[in-house]
Symmetry: C2
Subunit: 500 residues, 2 copies
C-alpha cells in the first residue's frame, strides 16, 4: 500500500478496495470517468463494477474523455451496465450493441461534452472516477497518461473516487496543465497563445471532502496502442502530403516549421507523421488531442520540439521507452483537458493543420468519418470536427479502396456526412492529393476524381459526374443513383455491379 502517493494525510483513511469503491455506483447514475484514447482510464473500479453487475444488474450513463482500454467497454456492455455512452468509443462489442440500438450512443465533438454539462444542457456527472499518479498536499489530483474531461467531471460531481496507479512514475507530476474556462457570461479569453504555454495548474483541484474513496492499483496498465505498421498505401499518403507541404513552404504559404500539427488517432495519421521524420521540415510542433508513437519518433529524431495533447497512447515498445523515462520528455510535452486541446478558440488562433482519417468522402469533398454504409457506427467523430471547422487547413486522409477493392472510399454521395465540403481543404489517398481550396463544387469533383480515386473506380465516378452535370446544379447529383453504390455493397458485397 503506497500511502506516500497520498500526500494529504487526512485522506489516508479513504483508501478502500476497488470492490468497495464500485458500490458507490448506483443504478441510473451518470458517471464521469477518466480515460482518453485508451490512456489513463480508471481500471480497477470499473472492473470491480463488472463483477458486481453480474449479480446485481444496474444501468448507468458512462461519460469519458474518449475511448477506454482494458476491454472496459466490452465488459461493461456484456454485463449490460451501459444504458448511455458518450462521447466516443472504439470497442467492437459496444459498437455492436450501439448498432442494435441497445446502448444509446451520443457521438459528440470532444471539446463540447463538458461545455454542455457546465451549461446544464447535458446531465452533470454525479460520480467521478479518476486515475491519478498521486494526490497532492492540498488534495489535488495528478492525472496519469491522459487528462480528457477529468477536471470538469471532478468539478461537477458530488462524489469523487481516485484510483492511484502506482505502476506509473510520480514524475508524471508537472506534465499536465489544468485550465477550465469560467462560466459565462463573464468568461474571458483563454490566455493560451503559444503551443508550449502553460495557463493552469499541474493538479486537478478538488474539495477533499468530495473524495469518497481512494483505490490503489498496482497491477493494471494502459492497454498498448493497436496502431499497425505503415504499409505501401499509408506511405504513399505520407509522400503526397509531404510533397504538398514542401510546395506550400516553397510558395510562402507555410513556414518551414509548418505550424501546429494535429493528427487523429490511427495507423494512417501515424504513418503520415512518421513520414515527416525524413523530411526537410524543422522545429515541428504539435497541438493535438492524442500523442502517438509518431510524436515521440519525431521528438527523438530532433524534428519535433514540442507537443501538446490530451493523452499519450503508445505501442508496447514506445510505452516502455517513454513512460519509463518520462522525465526526459517532460520539457517537450504538456497534457491538457480535451476542452482546451480541441477548443475552437485555440484551433483558430493557433492555425492548426489538422490531419484526420476519413471513412469515405464524396466527389464534392463531403466527409464521412463515422458510419459504415451510412448506418453502422464505427467509432465516433472524436475531435475531427473540432479541428476541421476551425483549422488553418483541414486535411482528410484515407486509402482509396477497402475490402480488396469491393469498396471505393470515394463515392458519388457520402452515405453519412460529418464534415461538409465547407470544412474540407485537402483530401489525400495513396493515389494522390486534391487541393480543394478556393474551388467550386464542380471543380472539386474534377480534382477529387482525378487525384484521389482508385483507377478501378475512376470511370464510374466520371460517368456519374458527367451525367449529373447534364442535370445541372451547384452540386450536381442523380438522386436515384446517389447512394446506389452503398446499397449494392449491402446487397451484393461490392459497390459496382454489372447490370444497373
Amino acid at each position: 500500500m503506497s500511502l506516500d502517493r497520498i500526500r494529504l494525510a487526512s485522506l489516508h483513511n479513504k483508501v478502500i478496495s476497488a470492490e468497495e469503491a464500485a458500490k458507490f455506483i448506483k443504478d441510473g447514475m451518470t458517471v464521469g470517468m477518466s480515460g482518453f484514447t485508451r490512456a489513463g482510464e480508471a481500471k480497477a473500479v470499473p472492473l470491480a463494477l463488472v463483477e458486481q453487475a453480474k449479480n446485481n444488474p444496474l444501468k448507468i450513463t458512462l461519460i469519458t474523455g474518449a475511448s477506454l482500454g482494458n476491454d472496459l467497454d466490452k465488459k461493461l456492455t456484456e454485463t449490460g451496465v451501459l444504458a448511455r455512452r458518450l462521447p466516443f468509443q472504439v470497442d467492437n462489442t459496444l459498437r455492436k450493441a450501439i448498432n442494435k440500438g441497445e446502448v444509446m450512443f451520443i457521438d459528440q465533438h470532444l471539446s463540447e461534452t463538458v461545455e454542455q454539462m457546465r451549461n446544464g444542457q447535458l446531465k452533470k456527472t454525479e460520480l467521478a472516477i479518476i486515475e491519478a499518479v498521486a494526490i497532492t498536499e492540498d488534495g489535488g489530483i495528478i492525472p496519469t497518461t491522459s487528462v480528457g474531461n477529468s477536471a470538469s467531471f471532478v468539478e461537477f460531481a458530488d462524489q469523487v473516487i481516485v484510483e492511484i496507479n502506482t505502476n506509473l512514475s510520480p514524475a508524471f507530476e508537472g506534465l499536465h496543465d489544468i485550465y477550465i474556462p469560467p462560466m459565462r457570461p463573464t468568461r474571458g479569453a483563454i490566455p493560451l497563445t503559444e503551443v508550449d504555454q502553460r495557463i493552469g495548474t499541474s493538479a486537478i483541484k478538488v474539495d477533499p471532502s468530495k473524495i469518497v474513496g481512494i483505490v490503489i492499483n498496482s497491477e493494471l496498465h494502459d492497454s498498448p496502442s493497436t496502431v499497425t505498421e505503415p504499409d505501401d498505401e499509408t506511405q504513399g499518403i505520407a509522400d503526397h502530403l509531404i510533397a504538398f507541404f514542401e510546395k506550400e513552404v516553397s510558395e510562402g504559404r507555410l513556414p518551414r516549421s509548418l505550424g501546429p500539427l494535429q493528427a487523429g488517432i490511427g495507423s494512417i495519421a501515424n504513418a503520415v507523421l512518421t513520414g515527416l521524420k525524413d523530411s526537410n521540415f524543422e522545429n515541428l510542433i504539435m497541438y493535438s488531442e492524442v500523442l502517438q508513437d509518431c510524436t515521440f519518433e519525431l521528438i527523438d529524431a530532433g524534428k519535433m520540439i514540442f507537443a501538446s495533447g490530451s493523452s499519450i497512447t503508445l505501442s508496447e515498445k514506445y510505452g516502455e521507452k517513454v513512460f519509463g523515462n518520462i522525465e526526459a520528455y517532460k520539457d517537450k510535452l504538456v497534457l491538457r483537458p480535451q476542452e482546451i486541446s480541441n477548443h475552437p478558440e485555440l484551433v483558430r488562433r493557433l492555425g492548426i493543420i489538422g490531419i484526420n482519417t476519413a471513412l469515405e468522402f464524396d466527389i464534392y469533398g463531403n466527409v464521412n468519418s463515422t458510419h459504415v454504409c451510412g448506418t453502422k457506427m464505427m467509432n465516433g467523430i472524436g475531435g475531427s470536427g473540432d479541428f476541421a471547422r476551425n483549422a488553418h487547413m483541414a486535411i482528410f486522409v484515407t486509402k482509396s479502396i477497402a475490402k480488396g477493392g469491393d469498396i471505393s472510399s470515394i463515392v458519388p454521395f457520402a452515405s453519412h456526412i460529418d464534415h461538409a465540403e465547407h470544412d474540407v481543404d485537402v483530401l489525400v489517398t495513396e493515389q494522390g492529393l486534391a487541393d480543394l481550396r478556393g474551388l467550386a463544387p464542380r471543380e472539386r469533383a474534377r480534382a477529387i476524381i482525378d487525384n484521389c480515386a482508385h483507377p478501378m473506380y475512376r470511370d464510374a465516378l466520371n460517368d456519374y459526374f458527367t451525367r449529373a452535370c447534364e442535370k445541372g446544379g451547384q452540386t450536381p447529383h442523380i438522386l436515384r443513383e446517389a447512394l446506389s453504390w452503398h446499397s449494392n455493397f449491402e446487397e451484393q458485397g461490392k459497390m459496382l455491379v454489372e447490370a444497373k
Copy 2:
C-alpha cells in the same frame, strides 16, 4: 460635389466619375467589394462596370461580404462579368447561372473568407471598392450600413476605390468598430469579452496612396429588405421557441436576458425575434451578423439594450426611421467586420443562441441550408455554420411543409448536409419543437417526427423509421429509399406518390 466628406484634402484631386473608376477593373481581376446582406455595397462603380462590359466584355472574381442590393448580381451576371463569386448571394439570375455551372460559386462560412486570403489560401483582392460616408483627416474610410469584409479587402488590395454615399448622414461615423486579427503565428486572443465592447477603430485604416479614385454617389440607396410579414406559421414557430426559452429560464439553464442572440436573415428568423417583443424576457442583446427590422422593434420597445452586427438591412419603413435618425440608436449599436461578428472564438466565448433557417432537415437532425433537392443552390450557407458549430445553442427553424404540401421539410435523409447532427440542438416548425440535446440518433428521430413533422407526412416518416430500425445501426436508414422523396418530387412534383 461634397468635398467636405473627404477630410484629407490631399485626396480631393482623386475624385473621379463612376465610369472612370470602373476602368480600374481589368479582365481576370480579383475584386473585393463592400456589401453585406444588401447593405452598404458600392453602387455607382459596379453599375458603371455593367455598362462598360456591354461593349468591352471582361470576367472577374467578385468577392463581397455577403449578398448585394441594387440588382448588382443580376446585372453583373447578365453582362457576363462574373467568372467566380464568393462567399454568398441571393440573386435569382445569378442563382440560375450558378446552377448551370456558368459562374463558379464558392459557398463559404462568412468568417473564413478573409482568413483564407490572409494566409494565401485564397487569392487576395487586387482592387477594393468600398462604400463610405466619409474619409477622415488621415485617410480612414468610414463605412456605411455594413462592414462585411471591407477592412481586409482594403488591407490586401493594391488599389482602393472609395464610393462616398452622401445620402447617408455623416453621423454614421462612430457606429463601426474595425478590428482585424493579426497574422499568425503571433496572434493573440481577440480582446472582446462583452457584446457591447469596442476593440478597434471607427474607420478602416488605409495608406492614402492606395486610393486611386473617389466616387461621389448622391443618388443610389441600399435596396430595402424583402422580408415578408409574419404569418400563422412563422408566428407558430415563434410561439414554440418562446415557450422553450421560458422553460429554459424557469429551469435555470438560461438567464432572463437569455444570452446573446443571433438570427439569420429572412422572414422566419425576423418573425421569431419580433415575437420576443411580447415576451417576459428583459435586457435582450444581439451578437449577430445582420440586424433586421426586428432588432429595432425590440430596441424601440425597450426589450433590447444592445445589438452587435456586421450590417443593418431594413424595410423601407424602418430604413427611414433608423437611417434618418442614426444618432438616436448609436449608443445601442455596433457594426463589426464579419470575421469578428461570426468568429468561432467569440461565438463560443459569448455563448451565442443561434437561430437560423433550414431548407430541410432529416429525421436525425442533419440540416440542409443551401441546396434544393440536394443539387440546386439557393443562397449559400452564410454565417449559419460559423454560429451553429460554436454556439451555446444551435436552433434551426423552418415551416414543416412547402409548395402547398407537396414538399415536406422533414425528410428521411437530407439531400444535402450543411450542418451535421452534432451541431444541431433544437429544431422548430409551426408544428412544434424538438429538443435534441443529449439524445442519440434514434431518440432524435422520435422527437423530430413527433414534434416537427407535418401530420400529413408523419405516418410515412414513422414507416420509414420503423423499417430502418429493423435493419439496425446507430443511424438507421434504408439507402435505396433514403433520397426517394426528393426523386419523387423531381419526377412527379410531390414527395409522396401512391405506389412505391
